[in-house]
């Protein structure tokens, strides 16, 4: 595989191009041409597609699109270009079956294939904003106590001692450090001190914050999440994070959020761009896992029909053709303690797992409402993920289609649900009786309606 320094050199010396010309003069026409050439068409009737030939065409389209388009460096206003041979070289040396965490809490992140019986990796609890340190500790502890949880995605602390946590300021650095220490304390309380933290810190934006937080974690067995910029762009800050990870031998979650309705256009474009990101995550971000977050332009829900189709397609494309594992993150539109929230999580999680991916279950309420980070829906998602392993895509398509009927007309105006203190005893750090009963009711419904036998592994159930 090309060295990271070669990639940096290309960022510094590649063809000059304005951002506008990259977006509208190169990216968009290339993508339209490739979609047409490979006949990639969205099929709303099958949100979980089972067409291997189409999956392979999406893969080929993604690679060809990347060769023709390259990656744009925002700081140098230059394109980083790769040849097909270089991309294939990177894919040929892609990591798989990487171990995260330490001691008895170490877990393997497996390579999976569509319809694979191998249990998926499940990490979660994260990325949503939490208001207080107690809340952060409690939601992480409860999630970590579920044996099906393999890793933690730290929630995003928005206040430090009651004051705004501002990215790029010294409070950003302190917030990142404190988040890692709080998560570590929560994991200790859960009896899983060696469990890996796989995003390090959601509150960290700048490289300085990521590196500061990371220094207080377990540098070699946690993962640092490094994101690209929509679409197919990087900046020096992201590359600086990569340089740090290369130096300390750190594991990296390579995150890319493709926007439905943005430059990628519709679902077909989202699928192809997601596929194109796969080698970018190896070559540029040096990831040991691809972390594809596709969302609609209106905000962070991954349960929309178009998103489920596009991401399923892209995951199938990649898992059939590359050993680099995929962990798909996701949010819901509805808030905690609502039926819709459970339906949404179940739909995107099932679609991901049968397509060959693993999951990172994020918060409800689009991940933007403070203290709507609910560990119980995340634990439910773990159970759905494990129950979906080995299921056929056709069977999953039937269930996901029925789930979509339950909620898709409410995605723009979802039920807000309840705030953490309403269903969680903060003092003891445990879900309350109402919360547990609601979980059991939903579990029963999934057994009766869809024949899903969801494991009961959390100590609270």
């Amino acid at each position: 595989m090309l060295s990271f320094d070669t990639v940096v050199e290309r960022a510094l010396t590649g063809p000059i191009c304005t951002e506008r010309d990259f977006d509208l003069g190169i990216f968009v026409p290339n993508l339209r041409k490739i979609i047409e050439k490979y006949g990639i068409k969205y099929d709303p009737g099958n949100p979980v597609p089972a067409d291997d030939d189409l999956a392979d065409r999406v893969w080929e389209a993604g690679l060809e699109f990347l060769v023709e388009t390259g990656v744009y460096c925002l700081d140098t206003e230059r394109r980083i270009l790769f040849t097909r041979q270089e991309i294939e070289g990177a894919l040929g040396s892609a990591p798989c079956n990487v171990v995260y965490g330490e001691g008895k809490d170490a877990r393997l992140m497996p390579r999976r294939f569509p319809e694979d019986e191998t249990p998926p990796w499940c990490s979660g609890c994260g990325a949503g904003p939490v208001l207080t340190e107690w809340n952060l500790i409690n939601v992480v502890k409860t999630y970590a106590e579920d044996p099906l949880s393999d890793g933690i995605t730290a929630p995003c602390l928005t206040k430090l001692d009651g004051r705004d946590l501002v990215a790029g300021s010294p409070r950003g650095v302190e917030g990142a450090i404190r988040t890692v220490l709080l998560v570590r304390e929560a994991l200790r309380r859960a009896g899983r001190p060696g469990m890996p933290v796989v995003n390090e810190v959601a509150s960290a934006v700048r490289a300085t914050e990521h590196i500061a937080g990371h220094a207080f974690g377990n540098p070699k067995t946690d993962a640092l999440e490094i994101g690209t910029v929509h679409e197919l762009k990087v900046d020096f800050d992201a590359l600086n994070k990569v340089a740090y990870c290369q130096a300390v031998g750190n594991l990296t979650f390579a995150e890319n959020g493709v926007i439905l309705g943005g430059y990628a256009g519709g679902p077909a474009g989202v699928a192809v761009v997601c596929a194109a990101y796969h080698p970018v995550d190896l070559l540029v971000i040096r990831g040991v896992v691809q972390h594809p977050l596709a969302v609609p332009i209106e905000g962070g829900t991954t349960s929309m029909r178009e998103i489920i189709w596009a991401r399923s397609m892209a995951i199938q494309a990649a898992t059939r053709n590359s050993s680099l594992p995929i962990v798909a993150p996701g949010y819901t539109s509805a808030g905690p303690m609502t039926e819709m929230c459970y339906y949404e999580f179940a739909a995107w999680v099932m679609a991901t797992v049968v397509s060959g991916g693993s999951v990172e279950v994020g918060p409800p309420s689009r991940g933007v409402m403070e203290d709507y980070s609910d560990p119980m829906e995340n634990i439910f998602s773990n159970a759905v993920a494990h129950a979906s392993a080995g299921m056929s895509r056709k069977e999953a398509n039937k269930i996901v289609s029925r789930l979509l009927e339950n909620y898709e007309n409410k995605l723009k105006d979802p039920p807000p649900g309840k705030k953490l203190p309403e269903y969680f005893d903060i003092a003891s750090g445990t879900p309350n009786k109402e919360c547990i009963e609601f979980y059991r009711k939903m579990r029963q419904e999934f057994a009766e309606q869809f024949g899903l036998k969801l494991p009961l592994t959390s100590p609270y159930l």
Binding site: T158, V205, G266, V368
Partner: protein
């Protein structure tokens, strides 16, 4: 060529985001004696409205919106001097200074709101991404803006939206501008907390808020 046929060319050029085609169609229209006002009102504006409607229905996406807006702006550079020559002036709804806040480099949401505002007749000054609070205020003062629109994606960059309001207050200029906020991590609750004048979850919301703001001025 009939007036109807030329107006159709104008309409189609905007729908297709064809900047060169639109400029040629504008040239033909002027040659045929169609006034700049008619070109805008009968040919181009209906097309811009249609583009906005198609975007709202998810039939087209950001690139089509941006290309249509670019085509519109190119045509207006030809038409505005002609309007002035004929004693008229293009009616602009208002001026908007837009950008993504300091510390945040996400541009897509901001770009789509900018395109949507242009389509609704606003003059838009786009400051780009990672924009200091003072830069929003200075630009608004420089161009006598009506609206400041600030985008932020991250939970830890949204405090910079509050900073813009504080900078306005420090300059004694808070009352001069309508401050609208949006972006992935923002909510109505946050807008209320920081004293913003409006929160838009979607680009369509932003346009409605902006129209409402200028109508109340």
């Amino acid at each position: 060529m009939s007036d109807e046929s030329i107006l159709e060319q104008l309409y189609n050029a905007i729908i297709n985001g064809d900047k060169g085609g639109l400029e040629r169609a504008v040239g033909s229209a002027l040659k045929e004696g169609i006034t700049p006002s008619e070109i805008i009102e009968k040919g181009m504006s209906p097309a811009m409205k249609e583009v906005g409607d198609r975007f709202a229905r998810y039939e087209i996406y950001l690139p089509e919106m941006m290309l249509a807006a670019e085509a519109w702006e190119g045509a207006m550079q030809i038409l505005e001097p002609k309007l002035l020559e004929s004693g008229g002036e293009r009616k602009k709804l208002g001026r908007v200074v837009i950008g993504t806040v300091k510390g945040d480099i996400h541009s897509i949401g901001k770009n789509i709101v900018g395109a949507m505002l242009k389509m609704n007749g606003f003059e838009v000054f786009d400051l780009g991404v990672d924009v200091a609070a003072s830069a929003f205020v200075s630009k608004a003062e420089e161009v006598s803006a009506d609206i400041i629109a600030a985008s932020a994606l991250m939970s830890t960059t949204i405090p910079q939206q509050k900073s813009i309001i504080e900078h306005l207050e420090a300059r004694g200029a808070r009352g001069k501008y309508c401050v609208l906020i949006g972006g992935g991590s923002t909510t109505q609750e946050w807008a209320d907390n920081i004293g913003a004048d409006g929160y838009g979850r979607t680009a369509g919301d932003a346009a409605i808020l902006a129209l409402k703001a200028v109508s109340q001025k």
